[in-house]
């Protein structure tokens, strides 16, 4: 008997907008898929591409990166820097063969609790449809096997 596949999604969010938006979704009693693990960071500018690789390394099936809308950054331009970085990193991941569908980016403000809840639901369904990220999981398994001498 096989269990239904539940995707593991890691969300890297900025504390001033998306985390507050998620908080609003919670206090508004909005129900959304429980598949997402939130990691709160000071700003999207703090989100290093290394975090994305680490999440994949630990077996994530999908990743969400989210922060303040352009112009709304608490630190005035952290998200502009982040946007450039995402544009480059996204095309790099695509070129390496990590499907762009698995790494999602969004702008969610502190007032957009509904958008947050809906987004989590949609990306959970999308990743569920894609299935587990078996190609990458294969690499992880290889690291756990004993070295052949």
């Amino acid at each position: 008997m096989s269990e239904k596949f539940e995707p593991k999604i890691v969300a890297f969010v900025c504390t001033y907008c998306t985390y507050a938006g998620a908080d609003l979704a919670g206090t508004s009693r909005l129900k959304y898929a429980p598949n997402v693990r939130m990691v709160r960071l000071p700003c999207t500018g703090r989100i290093s591409p290394m975090f994305i690789l680490k999440a994949l390394q630990k077996g994530a099936d999908g990743i969400l990166i989210s922060g303040c809308h352009p112009g709304d950054c608490h630190f005035t331009h952290g998200n502009y820097h982040a946007r450039r970085r995402w544009m480059v990193f996204r095309s790099l991941l695509d070129f390496i063969g990590i499907p762009t569908d698995r790494v999602k980016y969004s702008w969610i403000s502190a007032a957009e609790g509904v958008k947050f809840a809906e987004l989590i639901n949609t990306i959970t369904e999308e990743i569920r449809a894609l299935g587990p990220f078996t190609q990458y999981h294969g690499l992880i398994e290889e690291t756990q096997s004993q070295a052949s001498l």
Binding site: L92, F95, P99
Partner: protein
């Protein structure tokens, strides 16, 4: 007078007059078709210099050797066009003072070799602008196009095959003029972001992060590609990143000594299509 004799004379003169303390050039390698770096600090040593179409390595990386330029004396270096762009980037990133570098420029096409006029990096500004204009027209590469037409899964398999060969010798990092960090991210172990073992997962992470750190900085000199002992086509991924920087941000790496690094700057109207 051949270009080799011409440049030897110039190097000899620079050293004899005391204008430079060191000339970094090419010399004969272990086999007839190889060249290795030569460091000449006296006019007598200049005779070891060789200059022909086999001189393809980018020597600019030696300039950021710790302490080399700290005495404010000048150093002369043989550079191809990519090397001159590297000097621009290193200067823009405050790694060296471009006025301390005397450039002995040359370019090669097949077996032809011709000198590039100038000494200071600023003398080559126009030449580099021409390079950047030509680049916009001819930025496609058959292998990259082939990869782009594959499905993500096929591309993953392609890179899995390539990266599984990696032995984590870090020759790519050593050969790269842009990899000057005293402490590379891969050497940081609290936390250990990148697996240091040479398994395919760690190799993926290392090569992805290196390509990302070179995005908008790589001049495609090919040092890493040639240094790789297992022949991973690193130039493909670096080229893809250069194309991305050019198409998305109109950024041609190493255009001038004052060019802002592409990932340390932004425009409010950078346009993307994927942020929800």
């Amino acid at each position: 007078m051949s270009i080799e004799v011409q440049y030897r004379d110039r190097a000899k003169e620079l050293l004899a007059k005391g204008e430079v303390k060191l000339v970094i050039g090419y010399g004969g390698g272990s086999t007839p078709n190889r060249r290795r770096p030569v460091f000449a600090s006296s006019p007598e040593e200049v005779d070891r210099l060789v200059l022909d179409s086999l001189c393809i390595a980018n020597l600019s990386g030696y300039l950021v050797t710790e302490g080399l330029l700290s005495d404010e004396k000048k150093v002369a270096v043989f550079l191809r066009p990519e090397g001159i762009r590297s000097i621009n980037i290193l200067a823009a990133e405050n790694q060296l003072n471009a006025d301390q570098v005397v450039i002995l420029g040359f370019e090669t096409a097949g077996s032809d070799i011709r000198p590039l006029e100038g000494g200071n990096v600023l003398d080559f500004s126009e030449f580099i602008v021409t390079l950047s204009e030509n680049r916009v027209v001819s930025d496609s590469d058959p292998v990259i196009d082939k990869l782009e037409n594959m499905s993500a899964q096929e591309r993953f398999s392609f890179w899995q095959d390539e990266f599984s060969k990696c032995i984590k010798c870090y020759a790519c990092r050593q050969a790269c003029p842009m990899c000057y960090c005293r402490r590379c991210i891969v050497d940081c172990n609290q936390p250990q972001w990148i697996n240091t073992s040479a398994h395919t997962l760690g190799n993926f992470e290392w090569n992805i992060i290196r390509a990302f750190h070179l995005a908008g900085r790589c001049v495609e000199c090919g040092n890493c590609d040639r240094a790789c002992p297992v022949n991973i086509p690193l130039r493909l991924v670096n080229r893809r990143m250069a194309v991305e920087a050019l198409n998305s941000f109109d950024h041609f790496a190493g255009l001038s000594v004052t060019q802002e690094p592409v990932l340390a700057s932004f425009k409010k109207d950078d346009t993307e299509t994927f942020i929800l």
